[in-house]
Assembly symmetry: C2
Homo-oligomer: 349 residues x 2
DNA sequence: CTGTTAGCGCTTTCAC
DNA sequence: GTGAAAGCGCTAACAG
């Protein structure tokens, strides 16, 4: 029923081994033979059996990409960039191509481990973990153990937008979330703000913690008290920004600026402020983080910290494919760039 | 070096066959034996070899999802929804789980075919094609042939947000783009607009054509001339909306409304209008399509057509897994809902 | 440059 | 309920 390598070999009057060599192109084959084989492949409409080939060669052309939420452009951009680099030579033929297995963890530690196991089962050629990590000690250890196993099995592991995992030698492309957070809050302070609220991401996450720490560093550096009532935690979504803003306003109507954990949250905050009849930035300044594509079109345009998501993803992809050397020490820190736009201004009065 | 089924069998003092049966759980195994096997699996930290198992069983647990652009939430939302439905029972264990292979075609017909071949090679359990299709006859035929082959090989094929492919019996969940486009333009006409510009998507695409046809249907139904100078084509991105708007304004400063191919394009249009000193909707009304999450936060909030992307993706996922019956005739049309918001109003004067 | 020969690690009849 | 044995389709030494 289904055409196999042997069928092609028979038709081309060569041995299966030769067909395999032609298809993989890693071996010298006479031009005429190769042509004959290729013709047979075409005529028979033959498609290689991936699992069989993976089994025999003990490698696969699958690359895993772990993301928190594929519907979030933050992850989509990185995933797309990784994928654009893992493909084979752009010769159109379906050879040498690698497939991206995108795994949506939803931020759940259990799913993260489950997916890593599944990828290990597939004998993935590489795995790229994107976004912040959960800091729970048990989970950190579990991830570390998994990554070690994967590496032992020959899977290349790269972290993108995530801090290094202790106990592994996985390459890490990390974002300087702390520095970005600090510059953002410093910008607000320079503008004259003192009552600055902070809508943080979910607890126990590296990204959340680093950005928040940067914010606090800035406050401390300027002798501004860090009022715990001005910090609220929530998921990285619009709703969280909306609700948190209402809550913050309830707690302290005198706040003059809101820094959000990311741009999506910031948009929610803007919506809440408008619904409360407050103007941005006249009454309250708002800032985000990431500089996602829609942020520049917000009205007013959102002040934020631009993260080179596509560049980082592409680099992670290249390293995962062994096409770029690992950075010194196995870790590369990428800076965010402060983008000052219309959503922040000096406080009134 | 690497632990195999045989190792587990030896340790549990059973045959490899029994271990396989325990792991797959499709066969009766004595409770005590099963327990012994599971313990051995744990102790040895054994992970099934996916390729080997796929080869022997002639099936894999990979599900392909073709998208135009994973960084675009339009596709990210559908892909995420598909993925949420293809997972196994949510029992935490890594069994019965299916992995989503997300393939970024970038809208290129060649890459679409390449990826379908790659998925065929992987013996994917199912393939979901999302978004509009390229209408080039040669490509349509190529896709049709590929899908037939996939189906023959036992891969379930589902189209999500894409019209049926002739010559195949792939299930199609399609969006009523035409109806949506029509209602949108009718809304504008009802408001009093007559000079309505249209920024269409790329040519030769079903989505582009259907939305545009809906727009023209509405114009025709109201006896409004369809001035070809008021239609511009471009990719589905912000830049296209921006540039097209400038071009349209250059051609005819008297236009009072702009309908964009989708929300992203609409945002670009809004930006261009603002840069030209025009107010929305006072000077020019703007409408989008899709109702992506950020559209409600645009200022003014974007009038658009809401597509139930997540619901459609989830349904496609369920059908792909055989967990939901195919709709009558193999095709289900999903309506879009007109969302009237602040970006559209009656023309001045 | 090409053919021969063993497996890769698992599933699955078929017996017991 | 469990074991034995025969492949699944391909790759990778080895020869030649």
């Amino acid at each position: 029923m289904t055409v196999t390598l042997a069928d092609v070999a028979a038709r081309a009057q060569v041995s299966p081994a030769t067909v395999s060599r032609v298809l993989n192109g890693n071996y010298p084959v006479a031009a005429k033979t190769r042509e004959r084989v290729l013709r047979a492949v075409d005529e028979l409409d033959y498609v290689l059996n991936g699992p069989a080939s993976a089994l025999a060669a003990a490698t696969s052309d699958l690359v895993g990409i772990l993301v928190n939420d594929i519907a979030d452009p933050f992850f989509g951009i990185m995933a797309g960039a990784v994928q654009s680099e893992i493909g084979g030579q752009p010769d159109g033929r379906a050879g040498g191509e690698r497939l991206a297995v995108v795994c949506n963890t939803g931020g759940s530690p259990e799913r993260e481990i489950t997916y890593l196991t599944l990828l290990q089962r597939q004998r993935a050629a590489a795995v790229v973990l994107t976004g912040g990590a959960v800091e729970n000690p048990a989970h950190v250890e579990a991830v570390s153990a998994k990554l070690r196993r994967l590496a032992d099995a020959g899977t290349r592991v790269v972290l993108c937008g995530r801090p290094p995992v202790p106990g592994t030698d996985a390459v890490a492309i990390t974002f300087d979330n702390r520095g970005g957070g600090q510059r953002l809050t410093e910008h607000l302070i320079a503008l004259g703000h003192r009552r600055i609220a902070y809508i943080a991401g979910p607890e126990e996450r590296t990204t959340t913690r680093h950005r928040l720490e940067g914010h606090r560093d800035a406050l401390a550096a300027h002798g501004i008290e860090d009022d715990p009532r001005l910090t609220v935690h929530g998921p990285y979504d619009r709703r969280s920004g909306y609700d948190a803003t209402l809550e913050l306003l309830r707690r302290d109507r005198s706040l003059t600026a809101i820094v959000a954990a990311n741009d999506t949250v910031a948009l929610g905050a803007c919506a809440a402020l408008r619904d409360e009849g407050l103007r941005i930035p006249d009454d309250v300044s708002v800032a985000g983080f990431d500089d996602l594509p829609f942020s520049i079109d917000a009205v007013p345009a959102l002040t934020t910290v631009r993260l080179p998501l596509a560049a980082a993803g592409a680099r992670a992809g290249r390293i995962a494919m062994g096409r770029e050397e690992r950075p010194p020490g196995g870790i590369a820190t990428v800076q965010g760039e402060l983008m000052v736009r219309g959503s922040t201004a000096a406080p009134r009065g």
